[in-house]
């Protein structure tokens, strides 16, 4: 039994089959990359697994328990956290507060105590603050903690989302294109972050277009094409799989690869 398992996920939008019987499994401390050409269904798969879309068929299991169709906040409570391809930042809040929101499930949230501002609530605020600061330091944003999130550059926001997801103390972290739009230096930082997160025992599933990043840090790679599973294996295996090369580069690419 793996930590997170998805099996036979199928979903169609109108007449378009976005996913057709796709599945994957990931274990603690493992980095699994999901790649594929544009429109392959990578983000759709993420959205199904994290409860944003409801699949028409298939099953998602977390720690052996069936979690198919649970709403996102219930999945978060069971240890699933994610980031977004197109940033979802709380722009009216500071960087620190963004990460503090990630602590939501670790806080007790008793409305009466909160309204009365009881010492237990203030102590909890302090603890969430301290943990959020640690996480900001971990992603290299400690000195920008008090700045409004709206004033941070794109690369910093990508890392802010990772810090917020980590604040949930997830068992599985799902990153949707963590390095998209980042320059090589920023990409390398994200590299290091992901490896550090996996080393602590968190399972990491990522969708990524940057092949260099995928090949460097993934334990296993899943290749999707037009909503179907095309190949699965180690980065080495996938890279030399002719079906993968064809999907990415077309027939001509395959011939070019042979010629090379």
């Amino acid at each position: 039994m793996s930590l997170l398992e998805a099996q036979g996920i199928s979903i169609a939008f109108g007449g378009l089959r976005a996913l057709d019987g796709v599945g994957f499994a990931v274990d603690p401390g493992e980095v699994l990359a999901i790649i594929g050409p544009n429109g392959a269904g990578k983000t759709t798969l993420f959205n199904v697994v994290t409860g944003l879309y409801r699949a028409q068929a298939g099953e998602v299991r977390l720690e052996g328990r069936d979690v198919t169709g649970l709403p996102p906040h219930a999945l978060a409570a069971r240890g699933l956290a994610r980031t977004f391809q197109n940033l979802q930042i709380f722009f009216r809040m500071s960087a620190l507060e963004n990460v503090m929101v990630g602590r939501h499930l670790r806080e007790r949230r008793r409305l009466w105590a909160e309204l009365l501002g009881l010492p237990s609530v203030l102590a909890e605020n302090r603890e969430s603050r301290a943990r959020a600061l640690e996480l900001l330091a971990f992603v290299g944003l400690a000195e920008r903690a008090e700045e409004p999130a709206s004033s941070l550059p794109y690369g910093a926001l990508k890392r802010l989302e990772i810090a917020r997801a980590l604040a949930c103390e997830p068992k599985v972290l799902m990153l949707d294109e963590p390095a998209a739009g980042c320059n090589p230096v920023e990409t390398e930082e994200i590299d290091r972050l992901i490896l550090a997160i996996a080393r602590k025992g968190t399972a990491v599933v990522l969708v990524e277009h940057d092949m260099k990043l995928v090949m460097r840090i993934s334990d296993r790679v899943l290749v999707l094409d037009q909503g179907r599973l095309l190949a699965e294996g180690t980065p080495q295996e996938v890279r030399s799989d002719p079906r993968v090369i064809e999907a990415y580069l077309g027939r001509l690419g395959l011939e070019a690869a042979h010629a090379a």
């Binding site: 809040m93 929101v101 939501h104 909160e114 309204l115 605020n125």
Partner: protein, 315 residues
Amino acid sequence: MAPGTRMKLFVLGALALVLLLVPLLLPSAFHLRVAALVWINAVAALGLALLMGLAGQVSLGHAGFMGIGAYATALGPKHLGLDPLLSLGAGILLAGTLAFLVGRPILRLKGHYLAVATLGLGILVHLVLVSEVPITGGPDGIQVPRLELFGVRLVGPELWYWITGITLLLAAWLALNLEDSSTGRALRALHDSEIAAAVVGVDVARAKLVVFVIAAVYAALAGGLFALFNRFVTPDVAGFLRSIELVTMVVIGGMGSILGAVVGAALLTVLPQALTLFHDYEHAVLGLSIILFMVFLRQGIVPGLAALLARRRPA
């Protein structure tokens, strides 16, 4: 001291200072009555500011909840022989329950459905108050019995100034506490991105429902206070124009600002009194000033002035 605590003390200190200064500077009974009205409206505006400023939801029928609080306080003693204070409590409970029942199905949806639903609710409450003449007294309104506490009659503008003022202070304290809590952060978060709030574990529908019920409770409390203070209520207290006034108080003062809600309430309560000079043009001047505020201080008075001050201060 944590920044949240410092902010809380500043706002409460400023409010307390104003509360102490007004009777010293304007001791006439007329001024104290107007000030008490300001504090009452500010309580309702505060609740709405939590709903609009934190959660980004709008209630266009908020006066309906005020009406429920006011009429419960008036009708409980008359028809059921209840104590006025107990009736006020029942009115608050009723408003909260109604908000829960309306909000629960509506707040699952994304967007401004709450505004439309509350618009209908407000009109409905107003309609019932106007048409159920045998119970509510109809459009002519109804007398409210005098409040007695331990055999002491609570009368006089000065006493009501303090009752309403201290209620406002308490209401502001609770609101500030809520802002600086897990629920408050979750609300501000879902205002920016419901999806991102949900994936970190925020039950978005529940959080919005909680703050909507709180806002309804604040409005009903304000309505009940108004009934006891004014000793006479008409269905106007629940009218559509009152709902719009409440929203305007929050927007003009500055959404999401506790102090802003009080400033907005003060402006919209005092201005009509001052504008009696203009008599026939009262509503035109009011409307014009709202437009001017929106053009020149779009963030609202309090956040707008805070931003101006921050720019002036050398870095």
